[in-house]
Amino acid sequence: MKDKDEFLKQMENLQVPDINPHDHPQLVKMAIMNAGRSAALGVWLIMVPCYFLFCVFMYYYFHANISWFEAMFRLVVSLDNNKYIDFLAPIILIVLPIIAIIINALAITHVGYQRLGPDHGKVSEFIITVKIKPLNILLILISLVIIGLFIGFAMTESISIKN
């Protein structure tokens, strides 16, 4: 009987954890791909187009009477003369940065769909969360710049050929 009283007393004096109801809806936001692995592959994917752009810059820098467009044009033509990489040029310069964007974007974004509570009627939310991973974000930005440069080059080339 005495043990039972002590047990009841202990139960009554138990510390109850303080739960904040606003913290409860938090969820683990898992990305689809691993950020470190995506960054490692992303670096290699944009290394080749970056090297090409570096060559264009050097060509432009060391030829005084040449425009940026002409420097790029001459190097693209020289790529066509190289039997190993002639057919790979569009893949290297456009497709690889696109793949780098996709894998790095998948590594830092989380997409979720959530129904709001009864106070909001039938309203639902589509939630996109972007994790701040500097290397992945930098790779995405560099890839976007590369794609922009090559699309600009292709458009300029197309216009100049028509004229």
Binding site: A40, W44, M47, I92
Partner: protein
């Protein structure tokens, strides 16, 4: 199927199995072959280097893609 051929350190994949080492040696041998081939057809040292670095980066990219899919992962 798990293929534990490579382990990643930074952005480099290092072989951790015999197959991984074989792939690394093959990649290195192919790089040497392309250098000799490009050098025999090019007109200057810079011409050789510009073309060779392109090929070297492509070989590195293919090697990394293989490493990416056959990496040793801890579950």
């Amino acid at each position: 199927m798990k293929l534990n051929w490579f382990a990643r350190k930074g952005i480099i994949y290092w072989p951790v199995s015999v197959i991984g080492w074989v792939i690394l040696v093959l990649a290195g041998a192919y790089a040497v072959y392309t250098f000799i081939d490009i050098d025999s057809r090019s007109h200057s040292g810079s011409d050789t280097l510009i073309s060779f670095v392109f090929n070297l980066l492509l070989i590195g990219l293919v090697y990394t893609i293989i490493g990416y899919f056959t990496e040793r992962r801890v579950d």
